[in-house]
Symmetry: C2
Subunit: 156 residues, 2 copies
C-alpha cells in the first residue's frame, strides 16, 4: 500500500486488508466514566467505585457504550473519509474486558470488504473490523462496522 | 405475563416474547448532538447546522453512537435486571433515519431468546431486539443486543 495515505479517502481508495491504526491513545478517566454513566447508562458499577467492587465487574468499569463512543473518535481520526464517515450499521460488537479508570485505549481497524451500494449509487459500502486494545495490549472490544464512502467517479 | 412486572428481574423471569416499552421519551437537543460530537464523533454534519445542510444528512444529525447511548438509557430504565444490565455483545445495529434536534425518542424492547451461560454458570444470556421510534413513529434505529441476567437459583 505504501506509506502515504491520502488525506481524504474515497471508495476507490479502500481495499480489503488495508489497516488503520489509531493516531493517538485515549486515556479514560474515572470522571468521564461516571459522567457518561449519569447521562446514558446509570448503573451502580459505572457510577461508583464501591458499588463497582461488589458487582460483576469487581470495580468501577466504563459503560460499553462509552467505549464504543471513544472508538468512534479514534476511528474518525484515523480513517479520513471524504465528506465524513457515515455509519451504515454494526454487524457485531463484543466487550471482552472491562475498561477501567486510567486505561489507555488504541484501535486497529482493517478493511474487510468493499462493495457498491445498491440503493445509493454514489456511495460504496465498506466493512471494517476494529480491535480495541488497552495499555496491556489486552483486547477490550472488537467490532465489525459498515460505513459509506463516496465514489470519486460516479458512473453515468 | 400479567400487568405487574417485578422491580428486579432475574433470568428466570425473562421469556421470549416479553416486551418492555421505554418508560419515558427522550428529547434530543441540538446542544446535546453537538456536545457529544465534539467529544466522540467530531464530523461536520454532527457539529454544525450549515455543514449538515450540505452533507449526506441534509441537516444537523445526531451521531449514531449518541442515539445508541440514549437507547441504553431508555433500556436501563425499562428493563430492571437484578444487579444491573451487563452487556454481552451487539449482534446487529442499524441506523435507519437521521435523528434531528427536537426529535423525541422512545424504545420498544422484546426478549427474543434466553439460554444459560456456558462460561458463567450463575448467569443467563438474554437476546433482545430494540426498535427505536421518533415522534412520528418512524423507526430511527434497530438493534439486537445480548445481555447477562443473574440466576435467582444457582444450581449446585
Amino acid at each position: 500500500m505504501g506509506d502515504s495515505v491520502p488525506n481524504e479517502l474515497y471508495f476507490e481508495d479502500l481495499h480489503p486488508g488495508m489497516s488503520f491504526p489509531s493516531l493517538s491513545n485515549y486515556k479514560v478517566t474515572a470522571e468521564e466514566i461516571k459522567e457518561f454513566a449519569e447521562r446514558y447508562d446509570p448503573q451502580p458499577f459505572h457510577l461508583d467505585e464501591a458499588a463497582g467492587e461488589s458487582s460483576f465487574f469487581k470495580g468501577l468499569a466504563a459503560s460499553g457504550w462509552l467505549t464504543a463512543a471513544i472508538v468512534m473518535r479514534l476511528r474518525v481520526q484515523s480513517i479520513r473519509i471524504a465528506g465524513g464517515m457515515i455509519g451504515a450499521g454494526v454487524e457485531e460488537m463484543r466487550w471482552l474486558q472491562p475498561v477501567r479508570p486510567g486505561d489507555t485505549l488504541r484501535t486497529e481497524a482493517e478493511i474487510l470488504n468493499v462493495r457498491h451500494s445498491q440503493s445509493k449509487p454514489q456511495y460504496g459500502v465498506v466493512r471494517s473490523r476494529t480491535v480495541v486494545f488497552n495499555q496491556r495490549n489486552e483486547v477490550v472490544m472488537r467490532s465489525i462496522v459498515n460505513f459509506l464512502a463516496p465514489l470519486r467517479k460516479v458512473a453515468k
